[in-house]
């Protein structure tokens, strides 16, 4: 579904050049849920955004490629044109974010914002449906309906038709707008209902600040899944939610994945969630991928020292002491030489300081970037 090869990304800031991603290699297989684990600063969000072709300034992709497969063809994201990227965002790949209140615009209603996704990517179907309705009403209605038909015909040919958009703001000529709005609202309410939102009509008409955290996140998920994307990237979707809501949201994501046959890239720092949601796991540290394996193996037999340390650090019933990982996350302006984990690694030796390890396959189906293997 998606392949990230040797992706290197740097941020040019006032404090210095931040080497955010260093030769990241990742493969997302169609139909799976790939979990990406890492602490803050490991580069998980940056990688996710890069997959969508969003690189925030002052960032720059130095090397590498990102390939998205779809419908028998593929798109090279790092080299794609802006309009191509805009077409795939929300349609082929969609993303849900950590803070639902951040992802929703406070001055527009839920139906406006979810409807926007529909109007951007599915305008063809919407205008066709509106046109069909108009054709049915054409005998009964008067001039108003005829004008609607005129506008809709223009829009069917070209959704960005300037004349229709401009005149549409006027009272009589803009009649088609309320029809379109009604159709879109129907689609939004349907989608919200599938998200298990109680009273979806009311929620659709609401503003974000009128909704609870869990409700907002459902709206965000609805927005992302509206156009049935093939790949859904979920970046810490439950971190800001209560535990009970978290369970509901995770269940929702699982169900939607099955229903719409979506591939999921699940990003989190919480290993518990990984155990629940992921089929395969990729562990990231300080801007590179250090280990990839199926979820059972990661937990039963972690290979990379960092993964081992992560698992040791989880509080367990019956164990009295907590074992944190020695040291702190490295400064990405001046990262450690060679393997970026070596200052904190209990097994480090000379080579670790000199050369950054590449991902190798010590066994079938597993990848590790460590000189031990």
């Amino acid at each position: 579904m998606a392949e990230v090869q040797d992706l290197t990304l740097r941020y040019y800031t006032y404090e210095g050049v931040v080497k955010a991603l260093e030769r990241v290699n990742l493969v997302v297989r169609t139909g799976e849920t790939l979990g990406v684990v890492g602490e803050t600063g490991s580069g998980k969000t940056v990688t996710a955004l890069a997959i969508m072709g969003i690189v925030l300034p002052p960032g720059k992709i130095e090397e590498g490629s990102i390939i998205l497969h779809h419908d028998g063809g593929y798109i090279e994201v790092t080299k794609a044109r802006v309009d191509v990227l805009q077409r795939i965002r929300g349609r082929l790949v969609a993303m849900i974010f950590q803070e639902p209140s951040q992802a929703l615009n406070p001055v527009y209603t839920i139906e406006d914002q979810i409807g926007e996704a529909y109007l951007t990517h599915m305008h063809g179907e919407i205008y066709t449906k509106a046109h069909q309705e108009v054709e049915r009403d054409i005998e009964r209605g008067g001039i108003k309906v005829r004008i609607e038909r005129l506008m809709l015909r223009r829009l069917l040919r070209n959704p960005n038709d300037r004349l229709a958009n401009f005149l549409g703001r006027l009272p009589l000529l803009g009649a088609y707008r309320s029809r379109v709005k009604r159709i879109v609202r129907g689609m939004v309410v349907d989608m919200l209902r599938q998200m298990d939102v109680p009273d979806p009509e009311r929620v659709a008409s609401s503003y974000p600040h009128e909704l609870s955290g869990g409700m907002k996140q459902r709206a965000v998920i609805a927005m992302a899944l509206a156009c049935r994307p093939a790949l859904l990237i979920a970046d810490e979707p439950t971190t800001s939610l209560d535990v009970t809501i978290e369970a509901q949201i995770l269940e929702l994501i699982r169900r939607m994945k099955v229903r719409y046959d979506t591939t999921v890239l699940f990003i989190t720092h919480d290993l518990g969630l990984i155990a629940e949601m992921a089929d395969r796991v990729a562990v990231m540290y300080a801007g590179s991928v250090v280990e990839v394996a199926d979820v059972k193996s990661i937990f039963s037999r972690p290979l990379h020292p960092y993964t081992q340390a992560l698992l040791r650090a989880i509080p367990r019933i019956g164990v009295r002491e907590l074992t944190p990982i020695e040291g702190t996350i490295p400064n990405l302006v001046n990262p450690p030489s060679g393997c970026r984990f070596h200052p904190r690694c209990p097994y480090a030796f000379e080579k670790c300081k000199l050369e950054q390890p590449q991902l190798t396959m010590p066994e079938e189906g597993r990848l590790v970037a460590c000189h031990l293997y």
Partner: protein, 346 residues
């Protein structure tokens, strides 16, 4: 209109009343700084009354305790009696209404220009941050904001009137036009020269009035655009940094929609609050600009009154300015609540 918007509007209107009351108290306190004779001038309504000062003092109880004086004074004010303006020899309220159209005319041209230019430049500067256009507009803005209005007015007058030989003159009209406008052939509909000229079909008067208004308008616009532009730029930058902008991009919206629809609407919020302040800034600017250009509007009258210690005029105009500003802020707040639904809960 949604119910929470309606209740907000009602609440906001109620809040205006104590402020207006406070304004009247403040003005009244300033009045108390003057002697009884001077205070008497606030109650005079005609030339005849002006000669009987002692009678006025007795009639309006100016030697009575303060709270009675306040009530007397306030009831006079609410009846429209703001005193006698000695600089123009007529009642203050009448003077205000006489000079108001000129200032309104100036505002009609200056205000839309300021808003359009300010918003446009601010947006461009934010979207193209750190590029040439950003630096250029920011430099112009900070220089414009540091410049004394009266100095800018003088410079414009010297260069565009003096140096060019009179293309953009001071005053409202040239002598011929002024004479024509007073004559019975010309019907005064609004007191606004440019509009009246068009309504009368006299194009030459229209052009004449327009020529005279160019420099004052330019002065006002420059100083205010400087401020507006900076606010728009910073609020736009803030909006562009928000999560919903990222989410909008992630939805596949084109750049223009992201910038205008999503960031733009949120960026306008501080700007709308600012436009209330711009009313005050415009009033201040008008005072100075009309003085330099000898443009006979309310600002000009105010300064004449101040330099000749015409207290009723000074205080009358101050109150007018305050009431105007309070009303402007009211409208701005309502507009704000219309755009930003979160505010309606306060």
């Amino acid at each position: 209109m949604s119910s929470d918007l309606r209740s907000y509007i009602v609440r906001r209107i109620i809040m205006v009343i104590p402020v207006l009351l406070g304004v009247s108290i403040l003005i009244f306190s300033v009045v108390q700084l003057f002697s009884p004779v001077e205070r008497a001038s606030l109650f005079i309504r005609s030339e005849r009354e002006a000669s009987n000062v002692a009678g006025i003092i007795r009639k309006y109880g100016l030697d009575q305790p303060i709270h009675i004086q306040y009530v007397n004074w306030l009831s006079e004010v609410l009846r429209g009696n703001l005193g006698w303006s000695k600089v123009v020899s007529r009642p203050v309220l009448e003077a205000l209404l006489t000079f108001l159209p000129a200032t309104v005319e100036l505002t009609i041209y200056a205000a839309p220009l300021t808003i359009i230019l300010g918003i446009y430049l601010g947006k461009k500067a934010a979207v193209h941050k750190d590029k040439a256009i950003d630096h250029l507009t920011r430099t112009l803005a900070i220089v414009g904001w540091s410049m004394p209005t009266f100095w800018l007015a003088i410079m414009l007058l010297a260069i565009f009137y003096g140096y060019t030989g009179g293309i953009f003159p001071p005053d409202r009209l040239s002598v011929e036009a002024a004479v024509y406008v007073q004559s019975p052939q010309f019907t005064r509909y609004t007191g606004i020269n440019t509009i009246d000229a068009l309504l009368n079909g006299q194009l030459w008067v229209f052009v004449d009035a327009l020529r005279h208004i160019v420099l004052p308008t330019l002065t006002l616009v420059t100083v205010q655009v400087a401020l507006l532009m900076r606010v728009m730029r910073s609020s736009m930058l803030e909006a562009l940094g928000q999560g919903y902008v990222l989410a909008a991009r992630a939805k596949g919206l084109d750049e223009r929609t992201v910038v205008d629809k999503h960031a733009g609407r949120n960026a306008m919020i501080p700007v709308i609050t600012l436009s209330g302040l711009l009313v005050a800034s415009m009033l201040n600017g008008v005072v100075i600009t009309e003085t330099v250009f000898n443009y006979k509007g309310v600002g000009w009258w105010f300064v004449r009154a101040a330099s000749q210690l015409d207290i009723p005029s000074v205080l009358g105009f101050s109150m007018f300015a305050a009431v105007l500003f309070v009303m402007a802020n009211l409208i701005v707040d309502i507009l704000y609540a219309y755009i930003d639904p979160r505010i309606r809960l306060t």
